[in-house]
Structure formats: structure tokens, C-alpha cells
Symmetry: C2
Subunit: 206 residues, 2 copies
Amino acid sequence: MFMARPISDPLKKPSRELLLEAATSLIRMNGYTSTTVDDLCEKAGVSKGTFFHNFSSKEELAVAAANRWSKMTSEFFRSAPYHQKKDPLERVLGYVRFRKEILKGDLADFTCLVGTMIQEVYSTHPEINKACFDSVFQHAENLEADINEARKLYCPKAKWTSKSLALHTQAVLQGSFILAKASGDVRTAAESVDHLENYIELLFKK
Amino acid sequence: MFMARPISDPLKKPSRELLLEAATSLIRMNGYTSTTVDDLCEKAGVSKGTFFHNFSSKEELAVAAANRWSKMTSEFFRSAPYHQKKDPLERVLGYVRFRKEILKGDLADFTCLVGTMIQEVYSTHPEINKACFDSVFQHAENLEADINEARKLYCPKAKWTSKSLALHTQAVLQGSFILAKASGDVRTAAESVDHLENYIELLFKK
């Protein structure tokens, strides 16, 4: 006699994913150290046994959350409309304008998981810091390719490097999140991104 | 008969100051939440009783450390040589160049106490966040005065506000610290500050 296999609910997310979502949300709001395994289990609605079935430690979960963040943000930006522009400078400016557009909702909705973690872990948790570094610096590399094309086209003799400008955009964004958190006012972040856009326009002035 | 008063060693710092120094050093390295009262007592070389004689909680110490940071940094920048320049634009550029010059030593030596704390406390510790906000935004106000003079002199019709540019300099600095922490390389911070200097030169181009 055949035993029917238990059919898992296709709408129910796996516990691992629920824990990664909980980590992303809680760490963006309260930081890495403040967020306990108990908090993560409660938010994800899973037992502690399930946590340790999926991750050997909070640190391992944080590394996985940073890697998932890299994957998610990379898909999110790759599918954004500004990528369709033919002019590479329009893609660069489109990226910056898009970053401004998505400054919406609660602070924990638009601020950066990995930028937040770096502050807490850089000297104590090298594996988490490495995953955060990869996330920010690989994201910058995607932009660097567009900057490089624009640079060749409009200012091939410029003294600055495409890499340094790509990283500068990330510095402005990360710093603008800190100002928004301090003031509780997203406009402080938006105004800094406006200055970044203005800088890029001045740099490439034709 | 006169009793000689016990003479305190004028070279020995008071416990309160030792605890504030310990907080500044440990929080810049490991973050606010990671730093325990025990860590602070050990670093300061004082007993737990002495800690609670001076501060009712770690939170109260963090507020005092942020206020001390504001006072210290404000005196430090006020006495910096760039303040002597007559041209307000030279003072603004001098500030940015000075910020680059002092990117030296270990990460915890040049990164920002209050910028680090904001990330961890903005949603959970409003009093610490308020002290950090005051520190960053009052520091920006000092620069805003110079920017405003330079703006009146060189580009009175500019569309940007002096306040937004002053805050933008802080965003770049805070973000550049995050990149330096992630990469362990101070040059990523310095290159971002170079872009900031370049931006200000382009904005005020005579």
C-alpha cells in the first residue's frame, strides 16, 4: 500500500529563510550584538532547536544574512529601470537618483544591513566583516563598470579613478543613513544624495 | 592641631574621566552593546562600585561620553590651523583637508564615537541617540557658518543650502569610516574625502 507523502505547504517559507528575514529586519533596527538568538527565533516563529538545526551560531546566521543581502540587492538593482539607458553616464546618474527614490518608509526599511553590521563587527568578527565587505565592494564594482564607460566617453583624462568614485557613492549612501538615523529625518539622507548627484554632474560636465 | 589634608595626586585622573576614556576607546572598537560594564571597569582600572558611584547605568555613561566627545572635538577643530585662513572658502577646504590628514593610526583612533553609536542605538536608546545627534549636527553647524560666508562671496545664487552641504561633509566622513572599517584600509576613506574636496572646489569654482 502506498503511503501518501506529507505535502508541504508551498506558501510556507522554510525556517532558514524565516530566520534570515528576521536577522535582516532585527539587525537593521537594533544592531548585531543587541539581537539575540531568542529574539531571532521569536521574530521568525521557530524554536531554538530549529535555529541550531540551520545555523551553528548567530555569527553563522549573520554571515548568511550578509550573503543573502548581497544576492538580493544585486538582483534588485540589476532589474531597476535605469539599467536600460544607453548612455553610461545616464546609468550612473540613474543609479544615484534611484537610490534617492528608494529612501522611503521606516529607517530600518531603507538602511543598509551590512553597513550597520560593519560598525559593530569589524574588529571582533572577521567572517561577518568579510561578508559585509564583499557586499559593499561588489555592489560598487557593478557601478564602477558604468562609471568607467562614462569616464572613457566624457572625461578620459580625469585624474580620479572609476573605482574611487564608485566607492565614494557608497560612502555617501552609508553616511547619509547615519544622518537619517540620528535625526530621524529621511530628508537629511536625501539631501546628501542630491549633493552626490550634483557632484557627478559637475565631474562629467560636457 | 592642624590635620594635613590628604593631597590627591595631580597626575592621577579622576575615575569619571578614566571611565569616559575607556568608553570612548572600547565603543569605537567594539560598539556600544558589546561593551559591558565589566569591560569598562577593567579598561579604566576602577571597581564596579566606582562605576556606579559615577554613573547610574551604561546608558548614562554613553550619553556623557558623547557629550565629552562633542566638547573635545569642538576644541580640537577650533584650534586647528585652517581656522586662521582669511578666505572662508579656504577655511572650508582647509577643514576637509585637515579631516584627511588626521586619518592616521588604528581605525579606532580616527573613527567617530558618535557615528558608531548611532547605528546601534537610534531605535532603542533615544537619550544616547540625542547626544550623538547633537554632536554631529552641532559640529556641522560650525562648518555651515564658513560655508555660508563662502557661498555669499563666491556663489550667492547657488541652489544648494549651506546647511545641506555642511551635513553632506559629515555623511561623506561617516561613510568613509565604514568603508575603511570594512576594508581595513584607511586609503578607501582618504579617497572619498578627496572626492569631497574636489566637489567643494567644483561647487565654488570662481
